[in-house]
Symmetry: C2
Subunit: 91 residues, 2 copies
């Protein structure tokens, strides 16, 4: 029997890596008149629902799959923003 | 004189709206052997640096520009995940 978990993983471009999407958004904001904005970084957020026996196993699997599939470790860094056990039990 | 702020805005597909990116990632995870994952939702996270006179003005501008540019209100919803004043003052 294992527990249901919800994890949120944030993937952002590494410091120093170009972020063309963020720059395009910054340009768009300036065009719209939002001159007070001086920097935009664009990243991704993934919400995962999965089952694992305990919190250590849950954290291990989220770290693994973030590193393998969600983030490109050459240009991006990821962080597990939250990891929460759901109340119901799943088989 | 105004204060420097950093805001994080999360944009997610609305409940009930198809999320092809999340489904593709779920398929990829299953292919990699992560069968314990049963749902993935893929969203975006934007980190904005800007100036505003006070917290109310900062919140107003972030809400406005999220609604106008960062999110497509037909299929996406946004949330201001954090809004933090920086220590230094900017002119």
């Amino acid at each position: 029997m294992s527990t249901a978990w919800v994890a949120e993983v944030v993937v952002m471009p590494k410091v120093g890596v170009n972020d063309p999407q963020g720059e395009a958004i910054l340009g768009g904001l300036h065009d719209l008149g939002y001159r007070s904005v001086n920097r935009v970084r664009a990243g991704k957020l993934f919400r995962l629902e999965f089952s694992a026996e305990n919190e250590a196993a849950a954290r291990t699997v989220v770290t693994e799959l973030s590193d393998k599939l969600l983030a490109n470790p050459v240009i991006e860094e990821f962080a597990i923003e939250s990891l929460v056990a759901q109340m119901e039990q799943v088989r």
